[in-house]
């Protein structure tokens, strides 16, 4: 756990969460399939994935969402501060691509010490930025002294 925790008093609307990057490998997707029990061939078999128009297998949406959660909890320094997250999966993620998770503080509620954030995960593909996760949100609650 990082030594520095985010303090509610230090947050302001518009603040950016430090982005977290990670390249997706076959090994990651295999391990995610085993952990989750989701053995859909789209995540395991290149031929099946090509048959529906992808260049090869795609990562699980929940794997991508996991990177987003990690981005937030790394920033917060307290995994328990993340109280809600909603992700919309908008684009597939292919092997060897680099996920970049990020977010921005949208509003603050001092009463509940809760911050509402807009969150996303992007990949750079053929010179354009694709949103694997977009129009999504998270809520973090920072307890007193935290």
């Amino acid at each position: 756990m990082p030594a520095v925790r985010v303090r509610f008093e230090d947050l302001a609307a518009g603040d950016e969460v430090p982005p977290l990057s990670r390249m997706v490998t076959r090994e990651d997707v295999k391990r995610y399939a085993d952990a989750s029990g989701d053995h859909n061939p789209l995540h395991q078999n290149d031929d099946v994935a090509r048959a529906v128009g992808f260049p090869g297998i795609i990562a699980h949406g929940m794997f991508t969402m996991g990177q987003l959660a990690r981005c937030l909890t790394d920033w917060l320094g307290d995994a328990g501060a993340l109280v809600r997250m909603r992700a919309q999966f908008r684009a597939p993620v292919f092997m060897g691509e680099t996920l970049v998770a990020g977010g921005r503080v949208r509003s603050l509620d001092p009463e509940t010490r809760t911050a509402a954030l807009e969150v996303w995960v992007t990949v750079e593909r053929a010179g354009t930025t694709e949103y694997a996760i977009r129009k999504s949100e998270a809520e973090v609650r920072l307890t007193e002294g935290g």
Binding site: S36, G37, V52, G61, M62, G80, V83, R84, Q88, F89
Partner: protein, 111 residues
């Protein structure tokens, strides 16, 4: 160790339930998949995508804690040939209280 028990409402394949009991690695998503795989729903998985996921964490989960998942269909709707299925799951902690709420929305594209 995590276990998934409590069949959701409605018919579910017996062997699927057995598998969930046996498998010590079971997690919430297994329950969702078993549910979505119910033959009565008749979903064609080659046309299904996971469109949206939401979690509400009421407290952190502890390592070694046994969780119980109860899932039900929150809504099924159709729009322009596309089907939307939302499954709401409650994860009960060892204390019997809901520790996590989750909503998964799956889309089945028209054939």
């Amino acid at each position: 160790m995590e276990r998934v028990r409590d069949a959701p409402a409605g018919v579910r394949r017996h062997e699927e339930l057995e598998r969930l009991y046996r498998d010590q690695g079971s997690r919430l998503w297994r329950a969702v998949l078993a549910f979505a795989g119910d033959p009565e729903l008749g979903l064609d998985f080659t046309r299904v995508v996971h469109a949206e996921q939401e979690y509400e964490w009421r407290r952190p989960l502890r390592v070694g804690e046994t969780l119980t998942v109860r899932a039900h269909i929150a809504s099924i709707r159709q729009k322009a040939g596309t089907g939307f299925l939302t499954i709401r799951s409650e994860l009960f902690g060892a204390d019997g209280d809901v520790a996590v709420l989750a909503w998964a929305t799956l889309i089945e594209r028209s054939a």
